[in-house]
Symmetry: C2
Subunit: 345 residues, 2 copies
C-alpha cells in the first residue's frame, strides 16, 4: 500500500530482541492510524525518506543502553527527510523539506524541536541528508576530525568501507593526505572502495588470510582506526596499531558478543598495548556532538557532495514496507552503500 | 660501603626477569669501577639521590617494550639528583645540583643532554625532584590536566593513593574542586590519604567487600579514573564509570598478567561500555610530555610544594645498596610514599 493523505501507516515494536540475537521482521507490526492534526505552533510532517542505520539494533533490546530502548507498542525510531504538509509554526511553511526523526511512519506532528536541519531549496538529493550530510556523514567527520586528528602521510583504516560512515570518512581522510585502507565484505565492495571512492587499498575481511592482507596493505602500520564493527576485524587491526594511534569507537555492529574468540581474556593485553603504545580510544555517540559541530561539518561536506567531489553510494529500498527486512539485512552486511527507504515522493 | 671519591659503585643487570614473574635482588650485581673522567664540554655528576619507580619493572624484561630493556651487563636505569663535581661545560659549574638519569651508580659523565632540570639554589628538599616535582608528580599533573580535564564537582579516583603519583594527583584534583577518592592497600595508607592528603575518602582494596565500599565512596559514580594498577581494582572501578569518563593510563603495576579473573574475555564488554558511555581512554608515557609541559607543571607544583600546601610523603632508603631490595618491595606495594634512596650527602 502506498502512502495516502488519510492514513498514517506506522511500524510499532511488538517484541524485543535478546542482546545476543538478531532481529527478524516479525518484531515489528504495521498499523494504520489516523493522520494526526497539528495544533497551534505545530506542523504536520509527511515522511519522504526513512533512514536505516546500525544504531537501531541496540534500540531493540529490552533494556536501555546509551539511549532508551523502543518500548513495545511504540513507533520504531528513525531519521527521516520529511515535507511540511501543514504549518502553524512561524518558522516553517508548507512545502519546506526538513531532516527530522519522525520514525517508521508516514506522518508526525512536530513543534520544530525535533528538526535537525531545514534542507536548502532545490538541493540535488534529499536523501543525502540521511547519509553523507546527515548522521552517518557527521559521525565520519566528527570521528576523523575531532578524535582521529589526522596528519598528512598517516595511515587511516576503516571497516565497513562502503557503508554509510565508511565511504565518507575514507574520502575525508584522503582529502587530508592520509593513506586510506578500507575493510569490507566481498570483492565488489572492495573494488568499489578503491576504484570509485579512491581508497588506496581495501581488504576483504572474509578472506582466509585477512590479517596478512591487512598487514600488507598497511606497510607503515595504522595511525587511526575507525572502530565500527568490533570482533575479529579488531583482532587483526590491533597488532598493526602504531605508537600514538587514535581509535574513535562509534559502533560495534558485531556486538562483541559472548566469550571471545578462543577463551582468552583480551582486556589485559589491550590495556597494556594502550599504555605502551599510547593509544587514545574514545567512544562517542554522535547525537552529543550536534550542537557544537553539525554546522561546521555541513560547511565542509555540502559543497563536496553538491559538486560530486565526494562520491556517495546509496542502497535504496522502495516503500515503507521494506524497512523491517531492510534493517535485518543491513545488520548482516547485506547492504552496499547507505540504506535509505523511499517512502513517498 | 659508602660513596667515595675514587670508586664508582654501580649495579649492573645480570639476569632478565620473565614478564609474568617478579624480580629478586639477585638480578643485579654490584660492581666497582673507576670514576670516569669528563672530556671537553662534559662534566662529572655525583649521585646524591636515586629514584625507585614502578616503570623500572618493564625495563627488566628481556624484550623491549615502549622503551628498550636494560641489557645484561648494563648499569640499571634510574632518575637521580646529582651534584656537578667537575665541569668543563659552559652551562654548569661545580656544586650545581641537577635532576638527571644517572642510573644506579655513584658517578656518570654528562654532556648536559641528559639533564632534566637544574635545581633552584637552596631548594628545601632535593629529593622532591624525584617525586612530587619530578617524573611522578609530572605524570600526575599531565594525566589530570591534559587527559582527565577535571571539572569542579566531578569525582576523581586514583589507585595507589599514597604512592608517588597518587598522592600528588589526588591533591591536585582536590585543588580543582573534585571529590577525591583514593584506593590503597591497608588501613594506615587509607587513613593517611584522608587525614594528611585531604582526600574525601580512601578505600582498602584488600577488603573483602572492596567493590561495595568503593561504590559507597562514589555516590555520583566516577568521572576520572587514574589507571595505574590494572587487575581487580579496575574491575571494581569499571561499573562505576560515568558517561564521558576519562581514563588516563599511566601504569599497570599488576601487569594485567595472564588469563583474566574467571576465564571471561572482558574486552568486548569494555569496548561496548566505552562506546555506550563515551569513555576516553588514553595511554601515555610521561617522557613524551616533557618538552611541551614540564615547565608549566613546575610553575604550578613548585610553590605548592615549597609552601607546604601540597603534602609530600617519601619512603626513604639509605645507601645505594638498598636499591635492589627497595625496588622489589615497591613492586609489591611495600612502600608507603615515594621511594627514594639517599646515596650520598
Amino acid at each position: 500500500m502506498p502512502q495516502t493523505a488519510t492514513t498514517n501507516r506506522r511500524y510499532v515494536l511488538v517484541q524485543h530482541t535478546q542482546p545476543d540475537q538478531e532481529p527478524t521482521p516479525a518484531v515489528w507490526k504495521l498499523e494504520n492510524a489516523p493522520v494526526p492534526k497539528p495544533g497551534p505552533n505545530q506542523m504536520l510532517l509527511r515522511t519522504l525518506w526513512l533512514s536505516l542505520d546500525p544504531y537501531m539494533r541496540v534500540r531493540l533490546n529490552e533494556d536501555d543502553s546509551y539511549m532508551p530502548s523502543v518500548k513495545k507498542g511504540e513507533v520504531m525510531v528513525g531519521g527521516t527527510v520529511s515535507r511540511v504538509e501543514v504549518s502553524n509554526h512561524p518558522d516553517y511553511k508548507a512545502g519546506d523539506l526538513v531532516h527530522s526523526y519522525a520514525g517508521w511512519q508516514d506522518y508526525i506532528v512536530s513543534d520544530g524541536s525535533d528538526i535537525i536541519v531545514k534542507l536548502p531549496d532545490g538541493f540535488r538529493e534529499q536523501s543525502w541528508y540521511l547519509g553523507a550530510l546527515g548522521m552517518p556523514g557527521f559521525t565520519a567527520w566528527h570521528a576523523l576530525v575531532n578524535i582521529g586528528k589526522p596528519k598528512s602521510g598517516e595511515t587511516f583504516v576503516t571497516a565497513a568501507a562502503t557503508g554509510a560512515v565508511g565511504q565518507v570518512i575514507g574520502q575525508l581522510a584522503k582529502l587530508r593526505g592520509c593513506r586510506v585502507v578500507g575493510i569490507a565484505g566481498g570483492k565488489s565492495k572492495c573494488d568499489y572502495a578503491v576504484k570509485e571512492l579512491g581508497f588506496d587499498a581495501c581488504v576483504d575481511h572474509r578472506a582466509s588470510d585477512f590479517p596478512a592482507q591487512l598487514k600488507a596493505a598497511c606497510p607503515k602500520g595504522i595511525d587511526i582506526y575507525m572502530e565500527n564493527v568490533g570482533g575479529p576485524v579488531f583482532d587483526a587491526v590491533e597488532p598493526l596499531l602504531n605508537l600514538f594511534a587514535r581509535i574513535p569507537i562509534c559502533g560495534l555492529i558485531s556486538h562483541y558478543s559472548g566469550g571471545g574468540l578462543d577463551g582468552r581474556d583480551r582486556l589485559p593485553g589491550f590495556m597494556a598495548n594502550t599504555l605502551f603504545k599510547r593509544f587514545t580510544i574514545q567512544g562517542f555517540i554522535i547525537f552529543d556532538a550536534y550542537p557544537e559541530f553539525y554546522g561546521t561539518f555541513l560547511k565542509e561536506a555540502t559543497p563536496l557532495a553538491e559538486s560530486g567531489q565526494m562520491r556517495i553510494r546509496e542502497h535504496r529500498l522502495e516503500g515503507l514496507e521494506s524497512a523491517p527486512a531492510g534493517l535485518c539485512d543491513l545488520l548482516h552486511g547485506g547492504n552496499f552503500g547507505k540504506v535509505v527507504v523511499k517512502v513517498a515522493d
